[in-house]
Symmetry: C2
Subunit: 374 residues, 2 copies
Amino acid sequence: MIPSKNLTEHEIVALDGACNVSDGHARQPLTAGQQAIIDHLPELFREAKGVPLRRVEHEAHEAFFQALGQRAAPVCSGRILTTYSSSVAIDILGRCLAGTGATVALIHPTFDNIPDLLRSRGIRLIPFEEEAVVEGRLPAHLGLGDCVYATTPNNPTGQTLDAEQLSTMGLACRDRGCILALDTSFRGFDSRAQFDFYELLDDLGVDYVVIEDTGKVWPTLELKLGFMACSHTLDLPLQKAYTDVLLSASPVIMCLVREFSLDAAAGGFAELQKLIATNRHQLCQIVADSGITDADVGSRVSVARLRLPEQNATDIMGRLTKRDVHVLACGPLFWAEPAAGEQFVRVALARSPDTVDTAAHALRSAVVQAAQAA
Amino acid sequence: MIPSKNLTEHEIVALDGACNVSDGHARQPLTAGQQAIIDHLPELFREAKGVPLRRVEHEAHEAFFQALGQRAAPVCSGRILTTYSSSVAIDILGRCLAGTGATVALIHPTFDNIPDLLRSRGIRLIPFEEEAVVEGRLPAHLGLGDCVYATTPNNPTGQTLDAEQLSTMGLACRDRGCILALDTSFRGFDSRAQFDFYELLDDLGVDYVVIEDTGKVWPTLELKLGFMACSHTLDLPLQKAYTDVLLSASPVIMCLVREFSLDAAAGGFAELQKLIATNRHQLCQIVADSGITDADVGSRVSVARLRLPEQNATDIMGRLTKRDVHVLACGPLFWAEPAAGEQFVRVALARSPDTVDTAAHALRSAVVQAAQAA
């Protein structure tokens, strides 16, 4: 049985659960450095009130993109829009692509709100399998004005395009006259995704939109921003669609993002990556003897996709929900072929080690019980 | 000449202007009570981190709706969705209405992002003149499943439906099988809009969506929430569309909204209304001898629509922009007939008295100079 809810509806149920490893938002404890920033929120508010919005916005862009190795990002050019979240950015992009009648080749699998948001705009989607994405093999019928949408690192697999692969993809898009849309929300977890995308894409001369996100990496309780950066030749009315939704994001959150970015560049990202690696290792160790395996060895993102011994992810998710432990069955992530996701559950890793430990033991036990019941 | 930008694009230019009375966001100084809440942001963050999300969300709803007299609002029923902003709520509603093929009779004039967001979903709009709105005279061809969308108090006119008028409108919608959508973002400024909408609409048995907003009343630098409350019989997939955009709004902002609501109920709204009345009076006094008049005597909202002696609002706006003073020419507010807006400029009043004073003198001077140049 494939769940009829979307993933976020399941995640909402988990929000106040005893053990929530459902959503991919950052819920690990604040580090000492981050807590010190939070303790200064009143000062950040005062600063945000007193200086020009453009200044704090540029400072947030500068600090965030620098921390992620994106030195050629178009800071101060007017080509970075700051939104409430990456989902709002995706919807703005979708609206603009719908206006041109573009077909979108969308990476498969990926989080289901991306296909849902794009489809809600009436856009025709073609599934673009991960194996084809890394090789830059565009679907045959994609042409001028169409769009390739890839999440890198991908959610839930962690698959990450290296510079050569991104270059191959960019060239293929340029040669077909396609727009390359990249969702890099998870790149803070993986240094292999922190080579300079903007320099590479600008050199190729491909039209691009890159959607970045602060919400997946820092546990700021949804005080977050999405960014949408585009090439200077891109001919989509992003700014017009943006201004229908918002005048500006909060300058207080811009100041917060600047401070978290500086902290991340000064060691915060390394600390975060270590936490995720520890949690991933611990999770895989605990569940190993129940026949559960890591489906994406080498992944560094803040979610782990686990392969179950049976194709019963929905059943396992249901058993865990009864114990107030919340994971995601991966059906909806395989948005073009949900049955393919029944072999997998997704476990969030941006949590305290204790939470991951509890979830791992419960998952192991549920899989053993399901096998006995079968 | 009618401006080709939308209103928000003009407002963005004004954001860092020397004198910005362009956008309708709250930019007045914090009161002492509000500053004390801001000073406790770290404690609010800690609280938001430590308690269930549903609890702080319900507390925010309870405090906000109570402060505005909405005692029968469906708090704790699952029928209030909390969004990043009212615009995100409007877009979610638009997506759902597009899915049913509804026609929307939209109040005219009103802020242009409402028609733009709805049209971007492919919805057919019928202008619904304010005079017809107050009389509850629905357009003839509106029928089952269609929607009436009214902003009350309206932006920019301040027109506010009283209980009898809302009842007439609600009955008309019920009898035609139409959904009544109300945007009440400005009701904090006008006690005449604070009778209990939910009790009245529930008693009528009309299907409704009410969009509320914290962003217009409190100067929290875009730390704000939108709310979308609906009748229990409403058959639109709002929750599904919502979850494509967000998992939840920030619990920190929920705590902030709860505290600002309690402060507002304890005198903060009265203080705010006094400030707006003072600013409106001062503005009208200063510009009176140049032939500019208040177009909406009796309005209490945080924007003033002023009638110019000539139909030259775009010219006047341009003259003021050169002096780094930013008002809005009202063309785009008359979304179905932009030429009708050329007689009016809109001046924001949720500002310090000094800012309004500066703007008023500049406006007066620009109108006098334009008359001399003609």
